[in-house]
Symmetry: C2
Subunit: 557 residues, 2 copies
């Protein structure tokens, strides 16, 4: 197989104007960014707006492993496959963060023959949305320090400013810094730090808001820290939210591109899946549902984090309702969950596979029983996978009433996932069951976290030190109790211990930290170390990424 | 008069595809960014490439004053006026920095009826060039600290890293910081700081390079600091320049927009006029000269800094040759140079005007005698200007063989600057005189600085402390002696004392600091405090910039 970038560069793309026209979009609502990217005005004409919504398909996965599962690739491949079998489908994805492209990752736009293109642009600046989020975030940061410097009329306590700065770069040296050194002319010295842009609350707000008015209002609600009198200080008190919204006026519009097979793709927003909810924007998903009969989307990490937040945060708040879910797994990854070393994954090992299937079973149970979502298991096939392993997997899933479908879109494009598409269509044509949530709005914040831990993670109980309990109680008393909780924990395990593979149970989930996101309208419960500014590896991808005099790029995977 | 933004928002723009087509550009070389902006592929087809170059007109100014002169407005107005009198003209401008838009400035795309549009976009993210420069710069920064963290094979001395980080924000708290706090996992603690993006050497390189290959090579030559053994550490030693060039692959293409009167405008690059050379990109200027018969461009600050660097750095290195210069002044600003207080500038004061004209006379002398450039003085007319004042000014300039033309493009658009356009055409139709430089390549760095100070600034001598002299000698010995010097000094005076208005002479210019820019290929001589990260005022413009639910922006001037 050629490399991802070689496949992407050889692709014959359709003009984005052609893609947009086929969707029924008129010229006025399409702003081209080059010939193969466009921003779409989300306010549709009355004719499109009156259309019935298409069916929303969520692609999620087992708990991630170093063996790789291929969730984005499956999302793209399923979109292509639905068109291949004669449906009108499109895909909705998050925009990749730039920092990791130069670190370990080298690109994040699918792979093989299931990619979104132009992949270099999507992996680099794309249409500037992340730059806009960074500037809006950092404008607020600058206005905070500027306010303190010029008399501090609001009485902001420099020791209690929680709003950091952001950059779309993997840069560990910026995690913990001291700013304002050099004397009076440079302002008040204080501790600060940088997060990567996808960790910005502005990104979460952009992805959850309904429209520009809602965006601005939510930006105004951001709590940047506390004053000397203990009062919450908001972005609106600093009069920053209007200018922040101005900086985001283009970023709020979804970006239209295409897959290698010309399936339309909206790629919009990219909130971190740990301290945020890890899904593309509500605006893009709503738009796609008006433009296509099937919309395939994905959520970050495994189903315990990604699908849960997709449903309990994004769907709850927006009214979006998925018709079915696809759980992506590989035989190799399931053997890893069964305790096999990375080096031995290619070997037949039925007992380990059976043990590892427990991870998949719990995710299936959560989607089916807790959330009421019909689902299918998609296996990204590797050549070493044996018939015996696949038969065991099918048998185990059959017991739950779930089919296992082999998918080969990576090597074969949409045609390779036709069987998956057929099963997805079948699932969505059954009588719909109402979506359920893991907790109710009226539950207390503590109850919400308790329900997630016990129902979704298989834990016995939750725990928090007195100081954290008090913070949670204060948020409850301050009127934030109706917010959803957004859990930040390791994605590698149902538990909070990354080394516990499979389906651990009886464990205790400890809440280490609580963060109020009053603009995004959720409460982050941190149950693990979370990394909000990654670092670069010893030999970063950046050292291999290059361009020749003709503009030909190499080194993006 | 309506506000600038109100005028801009009421304008009927032509589609950028229409503007490009009228220039003879085929569709393949035009990448639309929305309907009114486009990136232009600078490699033209052979037919356009074979065209004779148009005539290049430099717009410069007297030493800036708080009264304002209107250089960008005149550049735009002259372009419109040349088209108005039947010529084929376009304008070449720098892209505005975003930071100052939220500080004091509120916008920088001309004013009144002489603006480039869409002004909101030009003032905000535009086509993402500055974001790309910031990311390329900060990628190198991250790779430096990452290299030190992972064993420091190159032996970089953390105390001698001069490559800072950048952000397009006015943020004084970031001027002087400590990074890498928090222990081993966050890397090596060291002093650092942020500059505003326009101060990045990457920006200077982007604006001086010939093409992508030259860009990458220059990026590789950047010296980020010194090693423990005293050796210079380059970006190429860190293998960062390839990935940096990838990040700049779109930013290297000039941006096409239009004036309110549909004159084509290339707006590309924006190096700071203090630590860099303050002109738009060489690539954009060369492209414009192939597309139009008259190209009007401008250089930052007054003619002692802007025009000098335009000629001694940009023209020397690129082979570009201006055919004439326009020196922008106002009667009010000349009275200010004659010693009048800001509050009294509206009053008739012929002696003060005569005294202030000395500033203009020296700029005229420098352009005519030192550089060999024919010139005209453009007076942006205010209603309080009297006939007596204008007559005195005309009489003084006539003695130098220079005409004074009143320009009213701010209120009347191109028609208001028709007389200026006629005079510019007349100047460029005279037999061309060869352009001269203020110093020769072969002069030593010290001689270059001495010639600038004595010939251009009217100084008696230059001075540097022993340590600075030694640094200059070392740069000379290290093989950088053939580079031009790029002076950073106050723009408000010919001297290094901002309070010395008019045309001071006999003063001494003290070099306080020397900086090597091995990628941009010049040596910065700092003769004053220079600000490479501005701050916000007590009530920033950002507090007044706002957007309504329909996307209508207010508060940009």
């Amino acid at each position: 197989m050629p490399s991802d970038i070689a496949i992407a560069q050889q692709a014959q793309l359709n003009k984005v104007s052609q893609i947009a026209q086929a969707l029924g979009l008129n010229e006025a609502s399409v702003e081209p960014y080059g010939h193969y990217k466009a921003k779409i005005e989300p306010a549709l004409n009355p004719q499109l707006q009156a259309r019935a919504d298409g069916r929303l398909i969520l692609v999620t996965a087992i708990s991630p492993t170093p063996a790789g599962e291929g969730k984005t690739t499956t999302t793209v491949g399923l979109g292509d496959a639905l068109n291949h079998i004669g449906k009108r489908a499109m895909v909705c994805l998050r925009e990749p963060a730039l920092g990791p492209v130069f670190g370990m990752k080298g690109g994040a736009a699918g792979g093989g023959y299931a990619q979104v293109v132009p992949m270099e642009d999507i992996n680099l600046h794309f249409t500037g949305d992340f730059a806009a989020v960074a500037l809006a975030h950092n404008l607020l940061s600058a206005m905070i320090d500027n306010h303190i410097h010029h008399g501090n009329a609001l009485g902001i306590d420099p020791r209690q400013v929680s709003w950091k700065r952001v950059m779309d770069m993997n840069d560990r040296a910026l995690r913990q810094i001291v700013v304002g050194l050099g004397g009076k002319v440079n302002g008040q010295a204080r501790e600060d730090g940088f997060d990567i842009v996808v960790a910005s609350e502005v990104m979460a707000i952009l992805c959850l808001c309904d429209d520009l008015a809602d965006l601005k209002q939510r930006l105004g609600h951001i709590v940047i820290g506390y004053g000397f009198a203990g009062q919450a200080i908001t972005a609106s008190a600093l009069q920053a939210h209007g200018a922040m919204a101005v900086l985001l006026k283009n970023a709020i519009k979804p970006n239209l591109v295409q897959t290698l097979e010309h399936t339309p793709a909206l790629i919009h927003g990219g909130p971190f899946a740990n301290i945020a909810h890890g899904c593309n924007s509500v605006i893009a998903t709503r738009l796609a549902l008006k433009l296509a009969d099937y919309v395939v989307t994905e959520a970050g990490f495994g189903a315990d984090l990604g699908a849960e937040k997709f449903i309990d945060i994004k769907c709850r708040k927006s009214g979006l309702r998925p018709a079915a879910a696809v759980i992506v797994a590989t035989v190799r990854a399931l053997k890893y969950h069964g305790g096999v070393d990375l080096t031995a994954l290619a070997q037949l090992n039925l007992p380990a596979l059976l043990a590892g299937i427990a991870n998949l079973q719990r995710h299936v149970h959560n989607l089916q029983q807790t959330f009421g979502l019909p689902c299918v298991v998609a296996i990204n096939r590797f050549t070493q996978d044996t018939d015996a392993e696949l038969a065991l997997l099918a048998e185990q899933m059959a017991a739950l009433g779930v089919r296992v479908v082999l998918a080969e879109h990576w090597a074969k494009g949409g045609a390779g996932a036709a069987a998956l598409a057929e099963e997805v269509v079948r699932l969505t044509e059954a009588a719909p069951t109402p979506l359920r949530f893991a907790y109710e709005d009226a539950d207390t914040l503590w109850e919400k976290m308790h329900k997630l831990a016990t129902r979704i993670y298989g834990a016995a109980d939750i725990f928090a030190a007195r100081r954290i309990r008090e913070q949670i109680d204060k948020l409850q008393q301050d009127g934030y109790g109706h917010y959803p909780v957004c859990v930040a924990k390791t994605q590698y395990s149902f538990s909070t211990d990354a080394a516990l593979r499979g389906a651990p149970s009886g464990h205790r989930v400890t809440i280490r930290e609580v963060r109020l996101c009053a603009g995004a309208e959720f409460i982050v419960m941190v149950c693990d170390d979370i990394m909000t500014m990654p670092g670069l590896p010893k030999v970063p991808c950046a050292t291999r990424i290059d361009i020749d005099a003709a503009g030909h790029v190499v080194g993006l995977f």
